[in-house]
Symmetry: C2
Subunit: 417 residues, 2 copies
């Protein structure tokens, strides 16, 4: 007999987490093995409060809404940053609720912290003889997950950063005065997004002229010298710096203080603003610091088609894996060729990804620590390809909102009566 | 006999200044009255140095490059912020060069300062019996020009701001904790761009919850109360503030210092960062300040189709006006209907627009000074309509670069040989 499926979303938003959700819904609606599809509102935290919705009723008769979902950024189901304790009561509550909803498949989308949740839950089912398959779907703009060629969400954020650098390069190219633009990219410990800015280079446009990843110790003195050198050759110099750059002793360069998120990670900002002051004081030309901040992780309007499709496919891969009886795994992809770009889907044990971070290999950063190598460019290029067919209404991306869909459903019901 | 045409671009960049240039080139290439089309590099400043290129040779056999130009942001010809003095020698230099190039039509694209240049040059031709028609094409993201329903460039910047607010709204909607996002929009003295953020509202998505235009004195105390009130109803509150908000005595709210641009205008920034600190101290919830800065004015990837087409059309209108013997005028458009949206093209005396600013009427802002009225929404709505068909290559907008086109031309010549 078909068992029900429940899916949750966790961690920070990306442009394509909902593409994976759309993949899960799309596949499940036509699968004999899956009964209803439920959604946890605000991840595992919502599940503990039995905050659950019926996605099958919501989407069954609205296939075009599944397509809208595929192209809507952030998280349709809401998120949480909840770390499962080892409290036996908490696990009991979770599995009592899952039993009540006749859940046989548990899908969780998130980064390395969320994959830790997948691990804990699957370990619990194994230890207690519970027949629920627990499968993860990876996501993160930071691309810092092990066990996968690249993370869903990264390609779209990379496309946003590269597009923004290109826009700024055109914007600044119009004046003949000397200027410096410092763009701060996300990525606390991994410089993948910062590196992706180099994709903006094309034809004779050399921006970004300098990139600084957190994998290499940052020297303010060297930075000033690098900028000076580039200013000799170019009127307008664009430098992209990771939010997490730090000196050789591990001290963050960011001037501002640090706060902490729910997992105890430092939340950084202000390194661009700090370096702006440094350049103003030591070089004295016009300087702007740009911090796209959250704009880079939820830019559904400039999502990578490659990323949207892969995230969707990983959703279907996750359900199929659960149907096949796999548990404690996550859906993944391996690159089999760069040119033409090909990937192979599969699963991998969740231990590979939980609580670990994949940083940029030193050999993919140039010796001076202010640029990346050709190997990195080859790796990055395919990930931003293709323009996602985001639906538009009244001139704006027509994203789906859980409250709005409810209205749609209501309307549908009325029409049906 | 056909006279040559020269065109220059001046002031700050927008997403569609090159659309107007494309219109000028496209129309001129098939006009009997126009000989060659020349471009001034870096506006009037470049002209004074005889820094001139031949756009006819560049584009004559490359019509698809004209289309790329139509969809490339910033300024293909480069800009300047040069204020013509009343120095007779300077005028003599300009008109000697124009005579040398057999120029009969002088087209200048820019904002109110650039229209002052158009006025001075046409006054000089009238006073000295010189047969050169001088015509302006308006542009500015600020929408602060008189004599035109709305400025080319504004619609695309408006679309960028509304899209960004929508993306941020989705990004922040995923958590159940209280948070405030403050987005700083351009517009020193005119709040049009700030106002345009309200277009992000759709369905049940209420963001932006608060908007503050520079036309109404800003009270930090009232702002804190407004945010507190909205936080009672919503988890996540998004406020859009103009960079130019100031208190009832005219003092800018921005914490940072002020610098000046070439025309002596104050350059502001930092009001978002300042208000972030205020909310953190007085309310104590999570706060982010976002300053899209130059990203909002050169976002070719999210240009408004309405804006691109109107800018292109104004380019053709300007050339036609010059051909018809008009001088000291600028190409303009009047709205004849909101629904369906219709405009009528024409020309207007440049005195109407030079050195003046069109601000938002008080009656289009709500009484509390923290939102706009329905009249404003009706005015704004059509301006962001349509998705511009920006060409893409390797996953990124395939903008045209003057250096790159040179390469293309070279290639074309080689193929021809």
């Amino acid at each position: 007999m078909a068992k029900n499926l429940i899916i949750g979303q966790s961690g920070g938003p990306t442009a394509v987490i909902n593409s994976s959700l759309a993949g899960v819904i799309d596949y499940s609606l036509s699968s004999d093995k899956v009964g209803k599809v439920f959604g946890m509102i605000n991840g595992i935290e919502g599940l503990l409060e039995e905050n659950i919705i019926d996605l099958t009723s919501m989407f069954y008769n609205l296939p075009h809404e599944v397509n809208r979902l595929k192209h809507s950024p952030a998280m349709f189901l809401g998120s949480c940053r909840y770390k499962l304790s080892n409290n036996e009561d908490e696990f009991k509550t979770i599995f009592d609720i899952l039993e009540k909803y006749n859940v046989g498949y548990f899908i969780y989308t998130g980064g390395n912290d969320s994959m830790d949740t997948v691990k804990k839950l699957s370990d619990y089912t194994a230890a207690n003889g519970i027949d629920i398959k627990v499968v993860g779907i990876p996501k993160t703009v930071d691309n810092d997950l092990n066990g996968i060629d690249h993370s869903p969400g990264f390609g779209s954020a990379a496309k946003y950063i590269a597009t923004s650098v290109r826009n700024v390069a055109y914007d600044t190219s119009i004046y003949s005065i000397k200027s410096v633009h410092i763009i701060e990219a996300m990525g606390r410990n991994a410089g993948w997004l910062t590196a992706a800015s180099v994709l903006a280079r094309q034809d004779n446009m050399p921006a970004p002229h300098l990139v600084y990843l957190p994998e290499v110790p940052f020297s303010v003195e060297q930075f000033v010298n690098d900028v000076k050198e580039k200013l000799e050759e170019y009127n307008s110099v664009i430098a992209v710096v990771s939010e997490g750059i730090h000196d050789k002793d591990g001290n963050y360069i960011a001037e501002g203080g640090c706060s902490q998120d729910g997992f105890g990670h430092a939340q950084l900002s202000g390194v661009g603003a700090f370096l702006k002051t440094v350049i103003e004081e030591q070089i004295g030309c016009k300087v702007r610091a740009l911090e796209p901040s959250v704009l880079q992780r939820s830019a559904g309007h400039i999502a990578s088609l490659c990323d949207v499709n892969e995230a969707f496919n990983l959703g279907t891969v996750a359900v199929r894996a659960a149907e096949e009886g796999k548990t404690g795994v996550f859906a993944t992809l391996k690159r089999t060729s760069d040119k033409p770009y090909c990937v192979e889907y599969g699963t991998e044990r969740v231990e590979v990804v939980a609580n670990a971070e994949k940083t940029v290999p030193r050999s993919w950063i140039n010796e001076a620590g202010n640029d990346v190598t050709e190997e990195m460019v080859t790796y990055l290029k395919p990930l931003i390809r293709g323009v996602a067919q985001t639906p538009y209404r009244a001139g704006l991306p027509d994203y789906i909102d859980i409250r709005h869909l409810d209205v749609t459903k209501q309307k549908y019901k009325n029409e049906d009566e």
